[in-house]
Point group: C2
Chain length 166, copies 2
Amino acid sequence: MALESIFARRSIRAYTGEPVSHEAITQILEAGMAAPSSNNRKPWHFVVIRDRATLTKLAEAHPHGKMLSEAAAAIAVCGDTTISPDFWVQDCSAATENMLIAVAALGLGAVWLGGHPREDRVSAIRAVLGIPAHAGVLCLISIGHPGEKKEPRTQYDPKRIHDEKW
Amino acid sequence: MALESIFARRSIRAYTGEPVSHEAITQILEAGMAAPSSNNRKPWHFVVIRDRATLTKLAEAHPHGKMLSEAAAAIAVCGDTTISPDFWVQDCSAATENMLIAVAALGLGAVWLGGHPREDRVSAIRAVLGIPAHAGVLCLISIGHPGEKKEPRTQYDPKRIHDEKW
């Protein structure tokens, strides 16, 4: 049941060091590209990183990215701002969330490391990966086999629900 | 398997008219509030609408919202911009995507109707639902029992994948 993987998705920042298969990365990308997008414009691009030297550079490029130096892979989620200037952030966020749920469904672990709109992070990632100026950098996803265990959970809070009107 | 519901999630704009249970709406909201958020700030708020007169007003408030007048329910996804000025859009997008996958997993149908940053849409929705100025209006989700069938799919495109560098 998909709801289980939604609740099982937790931010996993420790990894075993075991590699992640190419097949798993492809399934994760298939999930990302199954996301909805405004006017179905699909502004997303994905840079897949497995090279240890590049992962280490990314770990240094992001203030909360230390775990990247131990990750099996990372995916930089980018959006073509010329295709969808108003909605690329939302479309790429939906794609990112799909990928995080797919990661959980596959028994892997991942964490979303925010980029845009923090320009210092974006320009550092852009420099490492050669991302062109017309592409926004939404985030990095750090991926590996989980080296920590977190329980499934919602954070359901009835105070955040408004009945018929705010 | 969660991947199935990720691929089964399609934009469903026609509904049978059958009501959606309170239990299902609660499960959908539980999924939404299981999303990750920047610094775990959880900026989200959800307005749940079932009243037919209000659904009809929302159908008029959104340029692509005609189906709302036939929907069993709608959820307006809002973000407290004072809690997370930089990341509420991304956090609420992740919550929205979780809810859309939950909808698919429950055998229901839904569509994401974009609000922010289109100010005309945001102010029209704000007026109908009494949403305060400090809350951004990310989108409306129109929900019902599916009155149209769409096949599961990815939109996987290898041209959007970059190996190690853009």
